[in-house]
């Protein structure tokens, strides 16, 4: 039997809804995230229409059919859900959440459910049920840790993903995500942070200057170079907030000498489609592919970003040519390989603090990237420690599934979503938390602030940038460091 680990006061703060009454009245929807105004009429019918269309043109029906038959409702998923562990509220049990959608599926899309519903005159989809789904499915961080513990193999993360997809088709989707995606797919900048190309180029030039000053090495961010081995897509927020991550990546390429480039036609790896809509996901991933083909790059290289890497890795073949799709490589894989081959040398005396690695769910849950960054870190961080559990069974930072982009729910994220992670970090005693994911980094920094943790959060390449060893032949002269015209 478990009890909630957050206090009533924390709960009140976390679930506080600051929306004005007139907004709630107008939207007829009481959720903590902001939603753009949408058609409130006839929502159940439109929900079912969207559900039917999605079932017809996807592979979800097979899964829902299977899951709705085998669901045993044993509550074992509670042991792995950081939301339930923090709230103790049965409505936060992954299985309970999944049943919200499975019930609609059984009632409206299976013969038995339809007959039973008609006979009993019950089970109709109502506005109240939609309200409950709209709240519940965005309380989940879609970390998929519960999937590991379901004896029946029910993928609650998939159901959350599908429910959000259907809700988004009737207009229920966090405004922060939609606005970003609109700019990415229809705006002039073609990225989620609205960074124009001249600003990108300025940033890159500025970073190059910084690296020249700090490392006395000429390190470039090549743009629009055709026929490169790698076309690089970073989460665009890195260009605004994660300078050291980018410099670390550029430094790695400087020592390996491999040909890489950033396309100015499209350079944002972020794909919020994974969080709320497959149609969006498809369009974003096609843009990545299109840019790679424009530059005739051989591989798609994704920066430090869990969800973007997973989307590209898993869905590039789906939407961009099956077996003929461009291979997708994560920067973590690339760096690990370079380090293994001895092409990347790291000074073991630079990082002396206690370092711990946080697994981004989208890298680790399916066992894709677990050991690679650890091997690199252990190779140059003298004081490396592990959190428990870690790897495939890691605990989500609390900002997964797009939650981190919703600033209005920060109290929820740092009080409930990230509570277990905060405890885990505190227990590790780490001074540096390495999180190679833009979303995790933002969430963990807010967690450090709100939960008063005594550590700092960095990306893997931030540390690599500090410890990287350049050959003397790469060093530029004193006068070259200070005056660019000398080149």
């Amino acid at each position: 039997m478990r009890t909630a680990i957050i206090t009533d006061e924390q709960r009140k703060k976390a679930f506080n809804n600051s929306k004005k009454p007139e907004v709630l009245e107008k939207q007829k929807l009481n959720v903590r995230y902001h939603v753009e105004d949408f058609d409130v009429n006839d929502r159940p019918r439109r929900f079912l229409e969207a559900f039917a269309a999605i079932l017809k043109h996807s592979n979800y029906r097979m899964a829902l059919d299977h899951f709705s038959r085998v669901a045993a409702r044993c509550s074992r998923c509670t042991v792995n859900c950081q939301i339930y562990q923090a709230t103790g509220d049965p409505k936060d049990i992954p299985c309970y959440r999944s049943e919200l959608l499975l019930d609609v599926y059984r009632r409206h899309f299976t013969l038995g459910g339809m007959i039973k519903g008609r006979l009993l005159g019950s089970g109709y989809l109502t506005d109240e049920k939609i309200q409950e789904m709209a709240e519940s499915y965005w309380n989940c961080t879609a970390c998929r840790r519960c999937v590991l513990e379901c004896p029946m193999g029910i993928d609650h993360g998939l159901i959350t993903h599908l429910a959000r997809y259907i809700l988004s088709e009737i207009g229920i989707v966090p405004r922060a995500l939609v606005v970003s995606v609109r700019e990415q797919l229809e705006g002039a900048s073609r990225n989620t942070s609205a960074v124009p190309v001249p600003a990108l180029k300025d940033t890159l030039e500025f970073l190059e200057d910084d690296m020249r000053e700090e490392k006395s090495v000429e390190i470039k961010f090549p743009t629009d170079v055709e026929n490169s081995e790698y076309v690089f897509f970073a989460p665009v927020s890195d260009y605004l907030m994660e300078a050291e991550t980018l410099m670390g990546i550029a430094a790695v390429f400087a020592v390996t000498g491999d040909k890489w480039t950033i396309g100015t036609g499209y350079f944002d790896a972020i794909n919020y489609g994974l969080f709320y809509n497959d149609r969006v996901m498809e369009r974003v991933i096609k843009n990545v592919d299109e840019e790679t083909r424009r530059l005739n790059g051989k591989n798609v290289l994704i920066g430090e970003c869990g969800h973007a890497s997973r989307v590209a890795k898993n869905f590039m073949p789906t939407f961009c040519g099956g077996r003929d799709a461009r291979p997708v490589v994560s920067i973590l894989e690339y760096t690990h390989k370079a380090w293994k081959e001895g092409r990347l040398k790291l000074d073991p005396d630079v990082i002396t603090e206690k370092v711990v690695y946080h697994d981004p769910c989208n890298f680790a849950r399916n066992g894709w990237i677990v050991n690679q960054p650890r091997e690199v870190l252990k190779g140059f961080c003298k004081n490396y420690v592990e959190m428990t559990p870690a790897g495939e069974n890691n605990i989500c930072c609390g900002g997964g599934g797009g939650a981190v982009s919703l600033d209005e729910i920060r109290p929820y994220r740092t009080t409930i979503g990230g509570k277990m992670k905060a405890d885990q970090i505190r227990k590790s005693g780490a001074e540096i938390v390495v999180a190679p994911c833009a979303n995790c980094k933002k969430q963990l920094r807010e967690l450090v602030e709100d939960q008063k943790l005594d550590c700092r959060v960095v990306g893997l390449h931030d540390l690599i940038y500090k410890a990287i060893v350049f050959d003397d032949s790469m060093k530029v002269g004193e006068e070259e460091e200070t005056g660019r015209e000398v080149k």
């Binding site: 039997m1 753009e36 105004d37 949408f38 929502r43 439109r46 229409e49 969207a50 269309a53 999605i54 017809k56 043109h57 996807s58 592979n59 029906r61 097979m62 899964a63 059919d65 299977h66 899951f67 038959r69 085998v70 045993a72 409702r73 044993c74 509550s75 074992r76 509670t78 042991v79 049965p90 049990i93 299985c95 049943e99 999937v147 513990e149 004896p151 029946m152 193999g153 029910i154 993928d155 998939l158 988004s168 088709e169 207009g171 939609v178 995606v181 609109r182 797919l185 229809e186 497959d278 149609r279 498809e282 369009r283 898993n314 869905f315 073949p317 789906t318 939407f319 099956g322 799709a325």
Partner: protein
Amino acid sequence: MGSLLEFARGPLFRFSFTVMVLGLARILFIDIWGAYKAYSKAGDKKMPWQLIRSRGFEWVFPMKRIIRNPHIYSVFSIFFHIGLIIVPIFLFAHINLWKQSVGVSWPALPYHSAMWLTVATIFFAAMMLFWRAFVKSISSLSRGQDYLWLLLLLVPFITGFVCANLSIGAGTYRFVMLVHTFSADLIFLLMPFSKIAHCVLAPLSQVVGALAWKFPPETDHDISLVLNKSRNIEVKG
């Protein structure tokens, strides 16, 4: 009562057993056919077989997972399932019935092992019921069928134990045996139409889960068309 017992053991058993076999075969076929169609439609046909295998086997032999992440109800459930599967199949009396009717037999459990396993199964089922009824995290998820199934599964175990171990009069014995046989028939009959279908479907769960993430390649085009949505980011519903 004797003829009723013969009916329950004979025609009714054959009927319910056939319904169970055909019903489970039907849903297994539906599941496999659905998976095949999903695979055919998928844009990416590369399946993570190693992951599917390892996660599937983890739940065939779940002790490691249970020890790593304890959950009391799961512990009860595992021990309950051991008895639930082994006792009816390897009980000497049951094997004997098969031998008499269709002429096939297989090794039986020693008498005392079968009895202790029966007692353990009854105990763990009772604990599961208790947990379902009184532990909030489980009771809040439970439907009627979750309780009814545990009760129904308890009946043949309790009645079987009574018949095999207690000194009861011939009339009572026949009555208890009748309940035993009818309850078993009912279980067979209902299996394909309830959550007990997991006995054949659960091994496919990992494949189904992996396949569901394999989307058809033209999702955007097809769904936009059906929902009559322009292909911009229209969220006004």
